[in-house]
Amino acid sequence: MKHRLLAALCVVIAGSMALTAAAPKSGGMLVYGKTKDARTLDPGGVDEGNSSMVVSQIFESLLTYKPGTTEIIPWLATSYAFSKDNMALTFKLRPNVKFHDGTPMNADAVVFSLKRQNDKTIPFNQYGPWKYWSSKGWSATDKDPGIIKDIVKVDDTTVKVLLNKPDNTVLYNFTLYFTGIVSPTAAQKLGAEFKNHPVGTGPFQFVEWQKDSHVALKRFEGYWGQKAHLAGVIFKVFPDEQARILALKKGEADMMDPVGPEGMKTIEADPALKLQRGDTFSIGYLSLNCETGPFVSKQLRQAFNYAVNKKEILDSVYGKSGVAEKLPMPSLLWGYDKTVPGYDYNVAKAKALVKASGVTTPIKINIIYLPAWRPYNPSGKRVAEILQAQLKAVGFEANLQTFDMGTYWDNMDAGKFDVGMTGWTGEGDPDDYLFNLFTEGYNNSARWKNKEYVDLVTRAKMVAGIPERSKLYAKAERILMDDASVCMLARGVEFRPMNAKVQGWITYPTGKMNLATVWMDK
């Protein structure tokens, strides 16, 4: 009898605990402490995180990622399909969705939101620049007709995207901010001011923006899906990290941008605060200049890769804010072949390769390192210092150099380095890493050229389906690793500080921020 009673009591307690944990509370204003103000609140103009974190609360795209994963799901669309020849992508739109101004979200709105970024006959086009659209190769240039041929309305709830050439990477772009759907009525009425007074379909609607101070949003009561728990959100700018942490400690902010190792210690020491760990798509790596200097030699590039003790760098510089990655793309993403051989730390092999290259030691090399924190590299200087010591053991004599950020990128672009420290915060498709970072004309900082590789990653754009594309990427990854044009350091892990009462936060590896699921346990 006693045991039964005890068991029943346990069930009741466990049940009530589960209920407590599972029941989000409605209401409350969340203050989010951010580093910099947004540049624009028009999704078409967004190309950096300070704007996108606000924009992603106000606007939605046709597709999105399943929370916390890289799986694409329909969102403002209810379904999508490529044509048999892969030359058209058709979206069926969600009915009964309203913008914050009460106008309907329909095919006209989708066509306007997208075409305004490329079609100069649409008057709104003058309020660009539409940087993301062009950086995706979607618009025509003098060399290329561009990927997108046209975007047409089939009926009120159907939109067709016509392509100039088959390209499966088009799909994931419809999850991104720049394809967010805007209210054509508001945009046409406000013109250049739309970016300061945005109107979308998202769970929060715009209230006010005081530049360099805050952006205020409130819950959209007419939202088509699960309404936000919070009554509103205020994105408040605190430029100094120390001051931001102090504001969080004092309760003036409830949540803030991710912090580095030093900030993490302060947060961990305060029981009223917590750190939410989240995987990111930010990879940090070293580009070895394949065009000039010693790393024209494949043997020396391989030697370099064997000579770097990545674990030491990870432990002493990244700490918890990084994890090891073999390939220059996140292992969380499909298309990452875990069987591709990497470069484990092996001084003997490195020395043998240096000897086989026939180059006399010491081999003088110039390492340029990042001047400031990046999400994929907490301290370029410390990484460079460790590298210098490790490389000495195999016969490289490294000279370390850095510049201000502007000059740094100029030097990276101009190939003025033997070893350049860089990184990439990619999107949810392997193409954004394997094509963008290693083919000419894009972000190929190592200046590596390999025709077979380029053929494979170009074909991988064109074939349909993840299994088929993955096979091509697996082959490409083997070539990439064998040629050793880069040396992977780590993938960034973010630690986002928040008050212990903030619940329901989900980290999206793609960097998307969704505050609709967040609630405050008062």
Binding site: M29, V31, K36, R39, T40, G45, D47, E48, Y127, P129, K131, S134, S135, T141, A192, K195, N196, V207, E208, Q210, K211, D212, S213, H214, A216, I234, K236, V237, F238, P239, D240, Q242, A243, L246, A247, K249, K250, E252, A253, F403, D404, M405, G406, T407, W409, D410, D413, T422, G423, W424, T425, G441, Y442, N443
Partner: protein
């Protein structure tokens, strides 16, 4: 006087054109391509080229200069590369925050600085003089970013007396009327019968104003002391004392009024410096003013914003100097223009 002021006012125009020209050409010395910086890691060579062409950065320097100056003469400072908004609007939305902070900090610095200077001069070599002068030495030497953080840790976090930053409580929204939050808060008392906006605005400005006041306070105290010491040794002061005037009257009516000229000059200069951008104070206290904005514009090579901002601040600085000149005549009627 009127003629003098008109002459000074018209001299502002070539000064501004000179400043704008200087800043325009200085930008070519600073490394880093604004288009590349704006596009960040995602920049492709083609995208950089397109953006450079869009901003006219691919044109010859002389052509860029002529186009820019043509616009400046039509009072068009261009649009910020970063936000696409007109530079003048970017400045005007942030300027009230800086002016408000500068006025309150200069009031604190002037009142305390003058008091400390006068006390130090009239009690020369006393403990008060020693404390005031050591204090002012510390004041000019202390790094503002360090002092700002210490003020936050002690008064905001540990003692919980003040907020850590911003202009208003994080969860409070106020539609700006004048842009000066303390004034707007005051208007709200009558408009909304609500004191909370005014109190919150006042509460938020105290710590940054104190941090910003330290350097001017120290400078004003030192200048006041030396000016007062010089005056206190004059014959007419001895005469005033010999006539049996009370010491307070001797100090404030006779000595201080004559010592005021250099003090006013230094207050004007310090106020001008604050307007030009209290970068560190604004950054630490999350104060959305012109200094913070100009600093970010420099880092992101937002040239049109930098040029426009510098021109605007130069005008403000020159006008303050003009105001100081007018005040001279008021303080010392012997001065004629």
């Amino acid at each position: 006087m009127g003629r003098y002021l008109a002459k000074r006012f018209f001299l502002v125009i070539p000064t501004i054109l000179g400043v704008v020209t200087l800043v325009f050409f200085l930008r070519f010395l600073s490394p880093g391509d604004p288009a590349r910086l704006m596009l960040g890691e995602r920049a492709t060579p083609d995208a950089v080229k397109v953006l450079r062409a869009e901003w006219g950065l691919d044109r010859p320097k002389a052509e860029q200069y002529m186009v820019y100056m043509g616009k400046v003469l039509r009072l068009d400072l261009g649009r910020s590369y970063k936000t696409g908004d007109p530079v003048i609007r970017e400045i005007l939305t942030r300027f009230p925050a800086t002016v408000e902070l500068s006025i309150i900090s200069i009031v604190i610095a002037s009142v305390l600085g003058i008091l400390a200077g006068v006390v130090a001069a009239t009690r020369r070599n006393s403990l008060a003089d020693f404390v005031a002068m050591v204090g002012s030495l510390v004041g000019v030497s202390i790094p503002i970013f360090w002092l700002g953080l210490i003020l936050i840790i002690v008064f905001a976090v540990n003692l919980n007396l003040f907020p850590t930053g911003g202009r208003l409580d994080g969860r409070m929204l106020m539609e700006p009327i004048t842009g000066f939050y303390t004034l707007d808060g005051f208007i709200y008392i009558f408009k909304e019968h609500d004191f909370s906006y005014f109190l919150s605005a006042l509460h938020h400005i105290i710590l940054p104003a104190v941090a910003l006041a330290t350097v001017p306070l120290a400078v004003i105290a030192r200048v006041t002391r030396s000016a007062m010491l010089e005056i206190m040794g004059q014959d007419y002061i001895r005469t005033a004392r010999a006539k049996g005037l009370p010491e307070r009257s001797v100090i404030w009516s006779h000595a201080f009024r004559n010592a005021l000229l250099p003090v006013i000059t230094i207050i004007g200069i310090e106020f001008g410096y604050n307007l030009a951008g209290a970068v560190l104070t604004e950054t630490i206290f999350a104060w959305p003013g012109i200094g913070n904005w100009l600093y970010t514009a420099v880092l992101s090579r937002d040239y049109l914003a930098v040029q426009g901002g510098v021109a605007f601040v130069s005008v403000a600085f020159i006008l303050i100097n003009l105001l100081v000149d007018v005040l001279y005549a008021y303080v010392n009627p012997r001065i004629r223009y």
